[in-house]
Symmetry: C2
Subunit: 238 residues, 2 copies
């Protein structure tokens, strides 16, 4: 069990950009460690927001649960990313639940620690603003996708994002954590059945490779083409 935060990770985190090495050490000491097994939760929708987290290891997803039990995944968190900060700053209860996808460990700063942090290092406040601003942009993009694109395109976008496929990417990229059809459906606003059909089709075309709880992109440019696809006729048929 880790006793001290890896300061390298802290230094790499955008939130702490501009903070000195020595200060970083003190900041690290203000954090508490929290570990959750796969499926466990760091915080639950409805509980009062009383801390923010920095994921150290593992993978976590932020999920909203509707009154009738449907789950909507807002985002996946990778190590080095901050989560839970928005509700802390905006006030009110957690609007969503943070679920560990695999065994995960996070550093946790309480509200009091956060207050001291921002008071002593105003730079953190502007960093946070930039980070949250970027989050707004991302979610707005996802909103636009959901409003205008067809399921197939949204799934393509999601896979590219989850597999960290960028402009300059290698030939193949795998999603490096277990993910089910259901998970992808909750992330793209569709059903596991539709996701299954889509992935089957793509696998037959050879653009991806997929086993249970696992997806690997074989031809990123193929997936990217589907994601960008405007509305060419007659290519449906899954």
């Amino acid at each position: 069990m880790a006793r001290a935060v890896d300061e390298g990770l802290l230094a790499a985190a955008r939130l702490f950009a501009g903070v000195g090495r020595a200060e970083l050490h003190r900041i690290a000491e203000m954090a508490r460690f929290v570990s959750r097994p796969a499926g466990g939760e760091f915080f639950a929708q409805g509980d009062p927001a009383a801390a923010f987290f920095l994921l150290i290891e593992g993978r976590t997803r932020i999920v909203q649960i509707t009154p009738d039990g449907q789950q909507v995944t807002l985002r996946y968190i990778a190590p080095g990313e901050v989560f839970g900060a928005v509700p802390l700053f905006a006030g009110g209860p957690w609007p969503a639940t943070a679920l560990a996808v695999v065994d995960s460990t996070a550093a946790r700063w309480s509200r009091e620690a956060t207050d001291r942090l921002t008071a002593q290092h105003p730079i953190i406040l502007s960093n946070a603003l930039a980070i949250v601003g970027e989050r707004v942009r991302e979610i707005e993009d996802r909103y636009r996708e959901l409003a205008t694109e067809r399921v197939e395109q949204r799934v393509a976008h999601a896979l590219l994002h989850l597999a960290n496929v960028t402009e300059k990417s290698p030939a193949g990229a795998a999603i490096d954590f277990p993910i089910s059809r259901q998970d992808i459906a909750e992330l793209t606003g569709t059903t596991l059945h539709t996701v299954s059909r889509i992935l089957s089709a793509w696998e037959q075309q050879g653009v991806i490779e997929s086993r249970r709880m696992h997806v690997r992109i074989l031809r990123p440019e193929g997936v990217r083409a589907i994601a960008a696809e405007a509305r060419p006729e007659g290519r449906s048929r899954l």
Copy 2:
């Protein structure tokens, strides 16, 4: 033509909460006025973000335009609300366009003015963080709606929001600016045809009253009932 910002409005704006009266005066002087006729734009998607705005008068909407020309409305801005701030803090170009719905006037602070502002009044930074945080929450809620609710419910939610219907509301509430079926469609991720059919039905049931470019809610509780309406059965596991 207004020469000086109404300081009352500034004082009321959350962004400046906690700033002294005298300081407020100085802040007001740092602003430039911008007026746009109905249909005009304050900034355009793709241009570099170089300022943030506070709407003084009128009504403005933030719209994203997709590569194939579809428009998606992200939000409507009422007087007293800040817009354009997120891209300014997050960096990069405007991710959307700000269109005046009716003749509108805004106060505009340049990037330089903003830098001075936040340097002199760190409180503004935390206010901004809270505001942006709330924006995240709103857009996430809209995202969840789009992913899980049917068109009719989304339109109901949109009308309630645009007409400022709250828990404790009067019997009837009108949307106090001109709005077309197309506008509502762009806000709810559907088509003007579907909106037209829905509004016609509601009008026949007497829950709303609607003329060209105009919608009035007659029975808020009726609209709210539609907004809350659970999906036809579908008891999920869990």
